[in-house]
């Protein structure tokens, strides 16, 4: 295993290459520019292709084309650009093409701000595009986790033939940490030979890849996808449960917010307060069971901490809490970062006040 | 020698218009699909120039050598 001190965006880019990514198309937008910059140099080294698209719309469609050849394809952007990619992401879902989409999110809505924020939870988990499809959404909280999730993202994308999202905010994209880089994957195209346009393994019959289907075929596809999403809930949920055994207050936070919240929880624990945390690593499928199975005879409150206002994950939390205890929220927004003191005070107030 | 596949033909009439020997005309019967389709009224005059096939949007006309 190779260890390197890397910046978040570059770590993701390197992990993608090692995970088999051989095509990238994207359009400049802050705060994710280090990903295309890194890959413009790195992909040609491994026989891959890099294209700077004329827009996010074109870029996601280049990814659509590349993916159709069975090539592991990546695009990255930030909120405003992901909105533009919505069309292409929906087409990927419809044509059943795997792809990985990285969103290094920033303040929103609109052009918003270029500073970090977790403002795209709802977009990533519920509204990636038209037509009612879902994508797995991975939300790393450290660069090592970002590397590991990116490295394996295509395994999920190809298994279920659809887009996979990595949602990380601009803060994690910009920080530097030590990461262990996994080995370069050997690609065999065994996952793609049944449907891709490349004549892999001597295939002679032709293939049609289509984002439009006759009514009954489309309904059948949608039913099948519905079952796939159910399967994700049973087998693919990733979650970190932290100090939940005796917890009277449970923080729910992901990504950068979870890192900051963990510090506050540790301080409060030292003071004797029983606080724990549920950290969704997959935002979709959402770790429903972790919340549903809490012992609500002990739990007095849930605290949703997000770097966005109003909190966006709250709906998903409340659906599982089912009014068995109060749900609180705290956040900063617009590119203003969560800080240790603010989060400590917000959690502390609820915990100490016994609210 | 031309063969018109009446199931492919949609009766646009391009082959009739462009046949230099004027040996095609629109038939009086409809195909199974409901289109009128051209009929060859003077088979011997066909030189197999293939202009009818060239202009057929549906590739409904096959042209073979006269001798065949």
């Amino acid at each position: 295993m190779e260890k390197r001190f890397m910046k978040g965006c570059e770590a993701i880019a390197e992990a993608a290459v090692r995970g088999g990514c051989r095509f990238f198309a994207g359009y400049p937008i802050t705060p994710q520019n280090e990903i295309p910059e890194y890959l413009s140099r790195r992909l040609p080294e491994v026989g891959g292709a890099f294209v700077q698209g004329e827009s996010e719309v074109a870029s996601i469609n280049m990814v659509y084309g590349a993916s159709a050849t069975g090539t592991r394809a990546l695009t990255s952007s930030s909120g405003p650009g992901i909105s533009l990619k919505a069309e292409g992401i929906s087409y990927l879902a419809s044509a059943q093409l795997p792809a990985v989409i990285v969103n290094i999110s920033r303040g929103g809505p609109g052009l918003g701000s270029i500073q970090p924020a977790q403002s795209d939870y709802l977009q990533a988990t519920k509204a990636l595009g038209h037509g009612g499809f879902r994508a797995m959404v991975f939300a790393p909280a450290s660069l090592q986790e970002a590397v590991d999730l990116t490295y394996n993202a295509w395994e999920y994308a190809e298994r279920d033939r659809g887009p996979v999202v990595i949602l990380m905010d601009g803060c994690l994209g910009a920080i530097m940490e030590e990461v262990e880089l996994p080995e370069m994957k050997e690609l065999s195209y065994t996952n793609t030979e049944d449907w891709c346009l490349a004549r892999v393994n001597g295939r002679e019959e032709s293939h049609m890849i289509t984002p439009i289907l006759p009514e009954l075929a489309l309904e059948m596809l949608n039913k099948f996808k519905g079952m796939t999403y159910k399967m994700w809930e049973m087998s693919d949920v990733k979650v970190e449960e932290y100090m939940l055994e005796d917890a009277e207050y449970v923080v729910v936070a992901y990504g950068i917010a979870a890192r900051v919240a963990k510090e506050a929880i540790n301080t409060l624990r030292e003071q004797g307060y029983k606080v724990g945390m549920i950290r969704p690593i997959t935002l979709y499928p959402f770790p429903k069971a972790s919340l549903d199975n809490l012992d609500y005879s002990k739990v007095k409150g849930i605290i949703d901490i997000e770097m966005t206002i109003p909190a966006q994950m709250r709906d998903d939390i409340e659906l599982q809490v089912k009014e068995r205890c109060p749900v609180h929220e705290y956040g900063r927004s617009g590119g203003v970062l969560l800080d240790d003191e603010g989060v400590y005070e917000a959690i502390g107030q609820i915990v100490k006040g016994g609210a | 020698m031309i063969t018109i596949n009446e199931l492919m033909c949609k009766g646009c009439g391009y082959c009739i218009k462009f046949c230099p020997k004027h040996i095609l005309e629109m038939g009086k019967e409809r195909s199974q699909k409901g289109h009128f389709y051209p009929v060859n009224i003077n088979k011997d005059a066909c030189t197999a120039c293939a202009i009818c096939a060239l202009m057929c949007p549906e590739a409904a006309i096959e042209v073979t050598d006269k001798e065949a």
Binding site: G65, G88, L197 | M8, P57
Partner: protein, 247 residues
């Protein structure tokens, strides 16, 4: 004497196009050329949205449906990953000259090594005959019921002329499919474009003037005369750029 056989790149059934639609003829021409070049196993048809999408049901070789206007971006992704394959987009005028203007101009400007087949029938056929960027001045459509008025809708967009001023494209030409001469020239042009692509020369662009009997409200035969009198004088057929030929 000549012979003609239905090309194997087409499915063995009639197309979804209306009677007399030159879209079908354009599709057939491409299939003819692919057969002549023996590229049935090698070609990838990138199909766009609009009536051109009906290609999905008549094309028997490898094909992929792209989003509206995005075929050149999709083709870019495909060709960069499979440089040995013969890749072409098949697009209509609403798709290519309105919603997909950024994608076509940028792909052409990058000199992507694929071919664009552009069927220009001056209308949005599939959606019922709305004004296209290529609708002629005075031509009626469902959104220009009194004829296209350049004061509010501008002038029909000349794509060959636009693309030929770019540095990268190697072959840019326009043909009218309303006469045997036009069709024969078009076939030669398509063949030349494919051969240039197979030689790795770069971006090639073939515009085919077509018709829309249904939305123009004319019989198929009348559309051919309309094209002679109206379309061809504005969209002049010819080779607009031939980088290799100029050498």
């Amino acid at each position: 004497m000549a012979t003609y056989k239905r090309p194997s790149a087409l499915m063995p059934m009639s197309t979804g196009y209306c009677p007399g639609c030159l879209h079908a003829l354009a599709t057939r021409l491409v299939a003819d050329v692919i057969e002549e070049l023996n590229q049935q196993q090698n070609a990838i048809n990138v199909i766009s949205v609009g009536c051109s999408a009906l290609n999905l049901y008549s094309w028997s070789g490898d094909d992929i449906g792209a989003a509206h206007g995005r075929a050149p971006a999709v083709a870019t992704g495909i060709k960069r990953c499979l440089p040995e394959r013969l890749v072409f987009t098949y697009q209509g005028d609403g798709d290519l000259a309105a919603i997909g203007l950024a994608e076509i101009m940028s792909a052409a400007n990058r000199g992507e090594n694929f071919t664009v087949i552009f069927a220009n029938n001056q209308t949005y056929g599939m959606t019922g005959g709305q004004m296209a960027p290529t609708t002629l001045v005075g031509q009626k459509s469902t959104t220009t019921p009194f004829g296209r008025d350049p004061m509010t809708t501008g002038y029909p967009l000349k794509m060959c002329e636009l693309i030929s001023v770019l540095e990268a494209p190697v072959f840019v030409a326009r043909y009218a499919l309303n006469s045997p001469k036009g069709v024969m020239d078009a076939k030669k042009g398509i063949k030349k474009a494919f051969e240039l692509q197979m030689a790795g020369k770069g971006f090639t662009f073939i515009e085919l003037l077509t018709n829309c009997p249904t939305n123009w409200g004319m019989s198929p035969l009348d559309t051919l005369d309309y094209m002679t009198g109206n379309t061809i004088p504005y969209f002049k057929p010819g080779v607009y750029k031939d980088k290799e030929g100029d050498k």
